[in-house]
């Protein structure tokens, strides 16, 4: 009876450990493949947008000099 309880306990802990570890690995992979590239993409987009906006403003200013 005691052996069964130990086995059940070890089995349950192993089961939980698997999903706990799975969560860590999954999160690490998500971080590497999705979250960090996503942040990089977002920052790149913002940079481009800011640059475009700056170019547009400069162009507008130059055009206004021709009015």
């Amino acid at each position: 009876m005691v052996e069964f309880a130990v086995l059940a306990y070890v089995g349950a802990v192993s089961f939980l450990f698997f999903f706990w570890a799975y969560g860590f690995v999954s999160f690490a992979l998500d971080l590497k493949n999705r979250i960090i590239p996503g942040i990089r993409r977002y920052r790149r987009g913002r940079r481009k947008q800011t640059e475009k906006e700056r170019e547009r403003r400069e162009r507008e200013e130059r055009e206004e000099q021709l009015y």
Binding site: R59, R62, E63, Q65, L66, Y67
Partner: protein, 396 residues
Amino acid sequence: MARVQLEHVTKRYDDVTAVDDMNLDIDHGEFVTLVGPSGCGKSTTMETISGLTVPTEGTVRIGERDVTNLPPKDRGISMVFQNIALFPHMDVYENISFGLRLRNYEKEEIDKRVDEAAEVVELEGMLDRMPDEMSGGQRQRVAIARAIVRDPDVFLMDEPLANLDAKLRVHMRTQLQRLHRELDTTIIYVTHNQAEAMTMSDRIAVLDTGQLQQIAPPLVCYNEPANLFVATFIGSPSMNTIEGEITNDGFASTYGQVAVEFDPTAFGLTPGQSVTLGVRPEDVYVTTLVDDLAHPTAPVPTRSDVLEPMGDEIFVYLVTEDIAEGGSMEEGSDPGEILMSVDPDSDVQEDQEMDVILDRSKLHLFDEDGEAITHGLVEAPAAASGPAGTEVEGDD
């Protein structure tokens, strides 16, 4: 004096060359139009002159000054844009006076200049209106008034009539010509509309793939095109081009039965040389409809395919290849097609067999590279690249 000179101007964007070694010399008071298909570099050339873009290579001079690296405000120029670009929250007076207020002019001077500019473009009494209360033509006139109020040395106009309807465009065309006469200022105008280029300009500069093809008065470009591109681009409908080769007796077409008799040696041509013959639709005649052509070619047997009645003339699409080869033309190819323009009262029907003749004095010959060899295949040949006022880009 505001002479505008572009010396070896090149503009590159990464690996795309928008303007390639452009040389232009525009005199004070001239109205020069840059014309060409989309993407030919005409707007980039204009932006280089205005200072909106700095050229990768070359020099821009306005008057005696090198302005290549100067900002637009220091160049003594005004520009009218295609999108009009009025400030929607300012009334007409404020829009017109914007440039003057930016430069801290006195109020009396601003009032005087705005009144004068409004009079020139016929906007008196509308100075307190807002842009959204005005028609497209009126808004465009406000933009023009805003440009002239500063009394610039050079006006730049980048397709200013493109957004107007056809009737208004014609009206504004005449207004711009009057304006040019009144102001006696250099105007550089960009358009892809041939009618605007032909009717308003002292000279037109034809551009293609960033290179200047020809700069000359409109009629010189029309009658003595420097190359095949100018020949087919200028004129509506476009010039007929007939491929063929030089024979001992003159020219024989590859398709159809177009033959022109002349002495090839008189034009420096050798038998067997591949050439392209160019003839404008109005220089093609039905033999039965014309008696007194001084230099006719041999009759060319054709069949009328499609008629396009335009009111003041009829465009007749003639097929020569069918008759010559007894077969039908391939879909999408027109090697044997000649476009002819006839009077609206001419008795021409569809699918009618007819002989046509060409006026030899109005024919053009182009070599394999598309460069003009001669204009007119009679008597002494005219130098292709040397008519008065014509400049041809030498290193195209």
